[in-house]
């Protein structure tokens, strides 16, 4: 039985514990032993993306210390994983330890498909679902093919959700337009951020989605905030929450 360390991003820890719990359940149902290293805090992305590398560096060092010994690190977030995988080397410099950590740190869907080799998903989700492929998972981790690219299409999130009984995946007219969260951008550029989010929600509504599903709660938090302000019937869910009742197998 393999062992994985849960990397629960700070805002998931504080605001969306249910997503962390769902992630742990999904991994356990695969027969994995799941650990949560309690010394973890934040990957440092907010500081790094604000240009404050000096404030992010100690957090990257801490992350490497806390997670360095595990054979696999799994997070319910594409954005935080892309921080570790792509940007830690800019903060810490290349090293064998960092290379190993970067290679072993995975977003949940990526881990399920690429590492655990999940091919069978046995479960049910009787809803019309629109996917929100958050940008860092899409264009940094390549969880799917971005609409700009012309190489063969592939979408790991869709592969996991499509087999669910009763699920109807609907297609917004712009498959992967950014929702406008963007970390500090959401506040920094509040006007454009909200306009982007409203447009994104409207596109999903037009496609007939009841649920907007994604792998980054940060984007979904922004969309959810707009949805609730306007009292719309649509809702957001993390992929882990949709998969937590399903039986996954290779």
């Amino acid at each position: 039985m393999g062992k994985v360390a849960l990397f629960i991003p700070c805002y998931v820890d504080q605001l969306y514990p249910r997503v962390g719990l769902a992630t742990a359940r999904v991994l356990r149902r695969l027969g994995l032993e799941v650990e949560f290293p309690e010394e973890q805090t934040c990957c440092g992305q907010p500081m790094y993306n604000a240009g404050c590398a000096a404030d992010a560096r100690p957090l990257a060092e801490r992350f490497l210390r806390v997670f360095g010994g595990y054979e696999a690190v799994v997070a319910p977030s594409g954005s935080c994983v892309s921080m570790v995988r792509l940007h830690y080397r800019e903060l810490l410099g290349e090293s064998p330890a960092l290379r190993a950590l970067a290679a072993r740190t995975h977003e949940l869907c990526e881990y399920l498909v690429d590492v655990a080799g999940v091919r069978t998903v046995d479960g049910e989700f009787r809803h019309r679902v629109g996917l929100h492929p958050s940008c860092h998972g899409l264009r940094e981790l390549r969880l799917g093919r971005a609409s700009e690219r012309m190489d063969p299409p592939r979408n790991k999130v869709r592969e996991l959700l499509a087999p669910l009984r009763g699920i109807e995946l609907v297609e917004p007219s712009r498959p992967d337009e950014c929702c406008g969260f963007g970390g500090t951008f959401a506040v920094n550029e509040e006007a454009v951020s909200c306009l982007m989010g409203q447009d994104r929600i409207a596109d999903h509504e037009k496609a007939g989605a009841e649920v907007i599903a994604g792998y980054d709660m940060s984007c979904l938090m922004h969309l959810d905030g707009l949805i609730r302000r306007e009292g719309k019937p649509i809702r957001v869910m993390h992929v882990a929450e949709i998969l937590e009742g399903a039986r996954l197998a290779q």
Binding site: N49, G51, D55, L59, R139, E148, E190
Partner: protein, 455 residues
């Protein structure tokens, strides 16, 4: 003038219907680009090739420029070197003044915008007429271009109708694009016939043949260089490519990326002056060497000005060209502007959600969103990050270094969110809450649930 992107963007976005129209119009171009790109099975390999050729050119720039100069000179082209915009303008003016030129027709060139050539020549008594339809519209309106390929994209046809009524005497209230275009054509025709010189930009300079290539859709560069005897072409040093044989790679990418067309309507090769005429090429540095010397940013010099990163940018589409304090808007403009004048354009690297669509759409694989990220660090290193953000990040960094402090702060924040969200009146949470609900806060964090065995 307020150069702060968020303020200008908010002003643009406040007119919801216009912002939506602008977004939709540009998304339409992005979709055309997608169809154009999809028609080429080897699209991604073409991008690889283009990026490779540009990397080769930029790594050996001096040698290729000198090769270009030698071969161009042998072709009878006169090559001039300008260190900056001022020197460029002076050279162009001297050429024109020495030949008694009073009226020049000009096709689109972002470089001459960068150098401020039009006002320079006008101040010296020359009449300069922009002949690209979009450029002509913004020239008549005394506005800068708001897009590098579609300079007047911020104006709807009704507003162009009003402008043409005033400037060109079209009937009041007329907004039929065909009628308006015809009016511009008739007006421009007189200018073409009367001009003593034509100015153009340069899309590609070919080192091995010593020729230049100018791409337009309207044929205005060809009109402007075929009728008057003097042709002055301005190019940045980064426009040189090693071989004429490389051109096909770029032309296939350029038109599809810009508008979705398989090929631009006019691709004109100039390998010497017309009989009895003169062809001058002014090669301009104006800060490019400095960018070339800065490793993470040198790739930005590979840009072929197709505008695809503008069309795909969800921020540009909803904030408009004028929200950017630099003359080139969108992701590439934010990069180039912040490189040119970091203080003035300090907000531009942050005018992006870092979605990365620009990077994936770029035909020459400029890693635009990573450059924007690197420029944020540059802004911070210069100490020009807003004080509140700097302190906020420092504080957060300190708290997050200590799990116990993090737990304490997280618990307090959640209690505040649960207890009295209405009390949030200032700071980032208040800005968040202007149009969005704050997230509901659970009574227990994940780690608290985990610790008591609840997971």
């Amino acid at each position: 003038m307020n150069t702060f992107h968020p303020d200008r963007a908010a002003a643009f976005a406040a007119d919801r219907s216009h912002a939506h129209w602008h977004d939709t119009a540009l998304w339409f171009v992005r979709e055309k680009r997608d169809r154009g790109a999809a028609s080429v099975p080897e699209w991604e390999r073409l991008r690889d090739a283009a990026a490779g050729i540009k990397a080769q050119a930029l790594s050996n720039l001096a040698a290729y420029l000198e090769e270009f100069e030698r071969n161009a000179t042998a072709n009878g082209i006169r090559v001039h070197w300008a260190r900056d915009g001022e020197e460029h303008n002076r050279i162009v003016h001297e050429i024109l003044a020495a030949r008694g030129v009073r009226l020049v027709v000009k096709s689109k060139s972002m470089l001459t915008e960068e150098c401020g050539l039009n006002p320079y020549l006008e101040a010296r008594g020359l009449e300069v007429v922009d002949t690209d339809l979009g450029e002509r519209i913004v020239q008549l309106a005394k506005e800068p271009p708001s897009h590098i390929v579609m300079p007047a994209i911020h104006r709807r046809k009704e507003s162009i109708g009003e402008l043409f009524h005033e400037k060109l005497g079209t009937p009041a209230g007329a907004s039929d694009p065909k009628l308006l275009t015809e009016a511009a054509r008739q007006d421009l025709r007189r200018k073409f016939l009367g001009a003593q010189a034509g100015l153009t930009g340069v899309n590609f300079a070919l080192a091995d043949t010593g020729g230049i290539v100018v791409v337009t859709n309207e044929g205005n560069a060809d009109m402007g260089t075929s009728l008057p005897p003097v042709h002055v072409a301005s190019m940045g040093v980064e426009k040189v490519i090693p071989r004429a044989a490389d051109l096909g790679v770029f032309l296939r990418l350029l038109a599809r990326s810009a508008t979705g067309q398989p090929v631009s309507t006019y691709t004109s090769h100039f390998h010497g002056p017309m009989r009895g005429g003169e062809l001058h090429v002014v090669v301009v540095d104006n800060g490019r060497s400095e960018i070339l010397a800065r490793e993470p940013f040198r790739k930005s010099l590979a840009c072929i000005r197709c505008g695809a990163c503008l069309n795909t940018c969800p921020v540009y589409r909803r904030s408009g060209g004028y929200s950017y304090s630099y003359l080139i808007p969108g992701p590439i403009g934010a990069v180039l502007g912040a490189l040119r004048d970091p203080e003035r354009h300090a907000s531009l690297p942050f005018a992006s959600s870092l979605c990365g669509s620009c990077t994936d759409v770029c035909p020459v694989q400029v890693d635009l969103h990573h450059q924007l990220l690197a420029l944020r660090a540059d802004v911070a290193a210069r100490g020009i990050l807003p004080w509140g953000k700097r302190m906020g990040m420092r504080l957060a960094g300190l708290v997050l270094r200590h799990p116990s402090l993090y737990r304490l702060a997280g618990g307090l924040a959640r209690r505040a969110l649960r207890g009295a969200p209405g009390l949030v009146r200032i700071g980032p949470a208040a800005t968040w809450a202007r149009q969005r609900q704050l997230p509901g806060a659970p009574s227990e964090s994940f780690r608290e649930i985990w610790r008591r065995g609840g997971a």
